[in-house]
Subunit: 351 residues, 4 copies
C-alpha cells in the first residue's frame, strides 16, 4: 500500500513538531512537506535538534507552495490562530481534494457569529466553516470519517468535554453548577518568545490566568449545549503549572435525578469501555498528568465529595498529544481510512 | 532589653528549619535550644547545610531536657502530628510559665470530639485544649496576646480562611456553594522520606490528592461555622504542584443579597487595609504564589466569573512562612509583646 | 513467529518499568512475568498507574518462581546491586537455557578482585562472571550475540565510554589528562525513598556528589584500559540535575600526535556513521539531554577549547533508555537474534 | 543619620529588581529613583508584583532625568551591556559627585583593547575606565572604598575567582591545567524574551553553551593573570541548569610544589576565615547551590581526586545575590562608608 503523503504547516512550533514526532513512527505515512515561514531554508534539526538523526524535508515558506501539484493527501495546519482561515481557503481553492486537519481554533466554532464575538474579527472563510467537523473523535467519529476539513479541538476543551459530555447527555448532572478548574503545563502556551513564559518567570510558582474570559469557553459552550439540547455555560478557570506537558481538569458537579457519584462513574465507565484512548479509573481514584505524558491517553476518575450528591471528577491528558497532535493524527487516521489507533500506541513516559 | 530565649522542637523538619531561618534575623530573640531526636548529637549544619556559617546550638533529643530549668521563654513545637499533645503536656507539667506555639495540628480543633473523629484517636491533653487559642492572627489577635498555648493553623486553612472568613461574617456569599480548589508546593508534605514525594515521582506532573477527605477540612469547618454562626461545610480539593513553596487557593463563590464580585472585593479591601501581612490586589487581578515566596505575605484577589453573581477568588501564601513558621513567629511576637511584624519583614524572593 | 516470553525481575523500580514500557511496543515479545517482592500480589497499575490500560501479569515474588518450568526465554534483572549475583546463579542452576540481561552492576567487572574492592564484598558468582559479557553494544556487539549473561553497563559509563573509547583506541588523546564532568537527572538515583531524593531537597538546586569515589569509575577503568592496552584512570565527578531523565558528560581532553579537535570529531563521526543509536553532531555543536529524552539515542558533539590542542566533548543520553533499559532491550535483540533496533524506534519527546 | 538616596537604573530586569529587594530592607538607604525605559510610567508592581505592598517610586525613563539636580548619592546601573558606558559618562558629566555601581560588563576590563576584542566594539568611555575599580570585594576591598565607579563582577567570574585567586596567588596550583566546569540557573540569562529561555525549552533538560568562547573568560584572564603575575588562561565551560538561581563551579586543579588537596583547602580556609560572605566547608565536602539561595554567601569546598595531586574544588553562590546585586550592595556599603554586611544578612532560603 502506498504511503499517504503528509504536510505539516507550522513545523517550527510545538504542535507541529509533535505531529512530526508521531508521523515519523506511523507506518502508513510519509512526511513530504514541512513549512515554517521564519525558518524557511533551514533543516528541521536546526529548529528541533531531536530530529537530527532523521531524514526530513527542509523547511519551506508557505508562500512558495503550489498546492495544485503538491501531491499531498493531507495537511496538518499547526499555524497561529486567525491566519489559518485564509491559508486553508487558499489551499482548497487550488486543490479541492486535499484533506486538512486544522490544529488552530479557526474552524472550531460552527456559529460564525460566536466566532466573531470571541475572536474579535469576522470569520474569513464562512463557507468552509459549514463543512468543518469538530474533531473530538469520541463524540463526532462518524462525521469525521467523511470530512475534508477537521477542526481539531482545544486542549482544555478535550480534557473537559470527554468527562462532561456523557454526563450532560445522560441528564445526570445539574447544568447550572458545573465548575471546571483546569491546570495546564507550559507547552500549551506555545513557542512564541514572551517574557511571561520564560523559565525564570514560570518555575517554582503557580497561578490562574484568563479568569472569567478564555477562548476555550466558546468551545465548551458549543459542545455542552449541543449535548444538553439547551444553552449551558460553565465556570472555567485555567491555571499554569510549572511543567511542560499535561492538563488536569478538576470538575465539580452535582448529580440530579438521584444520581450518585457512583452512578456518574458508571455512566463514564460504560461510555468509554471500548474507546482506545479514554481510560476510566476505578471509582475514587483521580488521575495524574504524569501517567499520560507523551501518550494519546485520557485518564478520567470520579470521586465522592463529602457534600452529599456532589462529585469531583478528574480528567488528565497530554496537551500536545490527545490535546493536540495525537488527536490530530487520530483524526487523520479516520479521514484516510486507517485503523484509528495507528501510530498512536506509544506508552506514557513516566518518570 | 534582654533577648527572649527560644527553643525549636523538631528542628530537622522544614517548618522547624524555617523557624530557625526567621529567628536568626529576629533582633529580640536568641535561639537557645534545637531538638531533633533522630539527629541528636549532630550540628544543625549537618542536617541543613545552609546554616553552616551560623553559630547554633547542637541538636539534642527531647527526652534529655529538663524543662523546669531550661530557661526558655517560648518554644515552637514543630513535631509530627499526634505526638505533640503529650510533649506539650509534659512541658507544662514541669514549667507552667513557658509559652508554646504549636505548629502541629494537635491543638487546632476546639472540639475534642471532632479531633477524635478526624484524627482517629482520643485527644491526649483535653484540659490543655481548653486554653489553646487558634493562631490565625488576623482573626484571633486579641486572644492570642494573652495565650500560653497557640495552635498555629494549617497552611491550606490559613490560605482559605483569610479570604473567606470576612465574606462569611458579612453574610455576603452563599454558604452552601463554596468550592475551594487548592494547590500546594511540595514542602507542605514535609521531609519524611516517602516514595510518592521523590523528585522523579513529582516533577513534571500534577495531581489532586486527599479528595473528599483531608484533615484541614476540620479546621475549615470550625472557623467558617464560627464566622457564620451556623454549620458550614465546603467542598475542598488539594492538589500537588511540582514546586517547593506556595499555596494557591482558587475559590468559587456566589454573592447573595445583591452582592456583586466588586462588593466582595470591597469587603476584603476594607477588612485588610491595615494588616501588614494580607494584601488585597486591585479588582480583577488574581495572585501568583511566586510573588509571596519566602515572605510572610498573603496576596488575595477577586475577579468576576462570566456567570452572573459568581466570583472567583484567589489567595496565595508561602506554606512555610505565612502558612506555618512565619505565622508562628507572628504569634510569638504577640505572645511576647513584641511588634507584630518584627523579624518578618523580608521581601518575597522572585525570581 | 512465536513471540519470545520475557520476564522482568524488579518491575517496581524505574529501570524495570522502563523495560515494560519498551517491551509493550516490541512486536516480537510477550511480557510473561513481572516480579516485585514488596509489591507481590498487586497489579502493575497500582505501582505504575501509567500501565492501567494494559493487560500485564500480576506482580509476584521472586521466591515463588519455578525457573525450570517457567517457559521464559529471557529475563531482565532490574534488581538492587549485590543481590543479583545470587539470584542469577539460582536461575541458571534451575534452567541453564534461559538468557539473562542484568541491569545491576553485579556482573560488569570482569576482574572479581576489582569487584570486591569497589563493592566491599566478595563476588558471589565468580564462575558466572567468566561468561558474562559487558553489554555496551557498540563496543562488544559480536560477543553479546552469543552470550547467555549480559551485564548491561551503567548509565554514566555508557555516556562516557561511547565518545572516549574510539579516541583512546585511536591513540588520539592524552590518557593522563582526561576529565569527565558528568551531570545526571534524578531517576538515576532509583525509586528508593531517601530524604536526599525528595522533590523539596532536589528542586531548584545543583550539586556534585560521590566526589573522588563513585563505583562507575571501576567500569570506566576497565573499558578505557582495555581500549588503551594499558592502565587508564580518569578524573570523574558526577552531579545531580533537577530533572528526571538525561545524562550529559562534559569531557575535557588534549589531542596528541598532532590531533586537533577537528580530527577527534572526524574519528567519532566515522566510527559511528552506521550506528543506529549514536549520532555525532556537526563540529562545534554540543548536545542537550532534552533532545534524546525517552529515546535510545546518544548524541555526541566535539568543540574546540580556546587552549590550543584541547577539545571539549559533550555526550548525552537518557539514563533510563540508552543508559539502562533501552540498551538492555538492544542487548536482548542481539541475544535473541532480532533486528537490533526493534522496539527501540521511538523519537525523543521534546518539549 | 540621613539615609542615602539611591537610584536603580534598569529596574525591570532581574538584577535591578534584586537590588530593590535588598535595598528595601537596608536601614540606611532610601530608594529614590527607578528607571525602566520600556515600562516608564508604570508602577513597579506592574512589572514585579511582589512589590505590591511597598511604596516605591514610579518607573521613569532614563532620558527624562536631570542628573545635576537629582539629589542621589549613588546609582546602581543594571542596564544591558554596551549601553552603560554612554549612560554613565552622561551621568558624571552632569554630576561629578554621584557614585555608580555598575552591574553590566562595561567597565570590568581594565584593558580597553581587551574590551574591544571581547565585545566587538571600541570602549565608549575609556577615560572613565581608568578610574573604575573591579568590584570583587574580597580581592579589591581597599580600592573600592575610595571609588566613584565600581564595576561589579560577572556571576560566573565571582564564583570562579573566589576559590582560585588565593590558590594562584599562593603559587599552589599548576596554572596550565585549570578546568572550570560551571553550571548556572536561568536567571543568569536575564529577562529578555528569547525562545531558548522559555520554560518549555529549558525545563527537564541540561546543556552546555558558549563552549570555547564566553565573555566572562575575559574577566577570568584579567584577574587570574593579575594574581599570578603572568598570563593565565583557563578552560571554562558554562552550562544551564533548569533552576532559577545559583551557580556551581566545579574546578579541576593540580597542586604544585608538593601541595596536596588538603593544603589547598587550608589556604582557602585561612584566607576566608574572617570574610562574612565566603564560607569554606570542611575538607571533602562540596557545596550545593540550594544552600546559598537568596543569600549573599559563597560556599567553597575542596575534595581530593583519586588521581594523586589533583583536587576538585566546588564553589557555589546565588548568581543574583553574591553574583550580582548582593555584591553590588556590598560595594555600595564600602563606597558609602557603611558596615559592609549591612542589609545583606538574610539567611539562605532552603527548601
Amino acid at each position: 500500500m502506498a504511503k499517504a503523503k503528509i504536510g505539516v504547516l507550522g513545523a517550527s512550533g510545538y504542535t507541529g513538531s509533535e505531529c512530526v514526532r508521531l508521523l515519523l513512527r506511523h507506518p502508513n505515512v510519509e512526511i513530504a512537506l514541512l513549512t515554517a515561514d521564519r525558518r524557511a531554508g533551514q533543516a528541521m534539526r536546526e529548529v528541533f535538534p531531536q530530529f537530527s538523526p532523521f531524514d526530513l524535508p527542509k523547511l519551506v515558506s508557505l508562500e512558495t507552495l503550489d498546492w495544485a501539484n503538491c501531491g499531498l493527501d493531507l495537511v496538518f495546519a499547526a499555524l497561529p490562530h486567525a491566519t489559518t482561515q485564509k491559508v486553508i481557503r487558499g489551499i482548497f481553492a487550488d486543490n479541492a481534494r486535499i484533506k486538512v486537519v486544522d490544529l488552530s481554533a479557526d474552524f472550531r466554532l460552527a456559529d460564525t457569529a460566536a466566532y466573531a464575538r470571541w475572536y474579535g474579527h469576522e470569520h474569513l472563510a464562512p463557507e468552509l466553516q459549514k463543512e468543518a467537523v469538530y474533531g473530538l473523535v469520541e463524540v463526532h467519529r462518524e462525521r469525521i470519517r467523511g470530512a475534508r476539513l477537521v477542526a481539531n479541538p482545544g486542549c482544555y476543551t478535550s480534557c473537559s468535554e470527554l468527562p462532561l459530555i456523557p454526563l450532560i447527555a445522560a441528564k445526570a448532572i445539574d447544568l447550572d453548577e458545573i465548575v471546571v478548574d483546569a491546570k495546564s503545563g507550559m507547552t500549551g502556551a506555545g513557542r512564541a518568545a514572551k517574557e511571561a513564559m520564560l523559565f525564570s518567570e514560570v518555575s517554582e510558582g503557580f497561578n490562574a490566568y484568563g479568569v472569567g474570559h478564555h477562548r476555550h469557553m466558546a468551545e465548551l459552550d458549543q459542545e455542552f449545549s449541543l449535548a444538553a439540547g439547551r444553552d449551558v455555560i460553565v465556570t472555567f478557570t485555567p491555571h499554569l503549572v510549572p511543567m511542560n506537558r499535561g492538563i488536569l481538569a478538576t470538575i465539580y458537579v452535582r448529580g440530579i435525578s438521584g444520581k450518585s457519584p457512583e452512578d456518574l462513574h458508571a455512566i463514564l465507565l460504560k461510555r468509554y469501555a471500548s474507546e482506545p484512548f479514554v481510560h476510566v479509573l476505578p471509582f475514587g481514584e483521580l488521575p495524574q498528568t504524569r501517567h499520560v505524558r507523551g501518550s494519546n491517553m485520557t485518564f478520567i476518575g470520579v470521586a465522592k465529595d463529602r457534600i452529599a450528591g456532589r462529585a469531583i471528577i478528574g480528567s488528565a491528558l497530554d496537551n500536545l498529544v490527545k490535546g493536540a497532535s495525537g488527536q490530530a493524527v487520530q483524526n487523520m487516521n479516520l479521514v484516510l481510512g486507517y485503523p484509528e489507533a495507528m501510530g498512536l500506541e506509544q506508552v506514557a513516559l513516566f518518570p
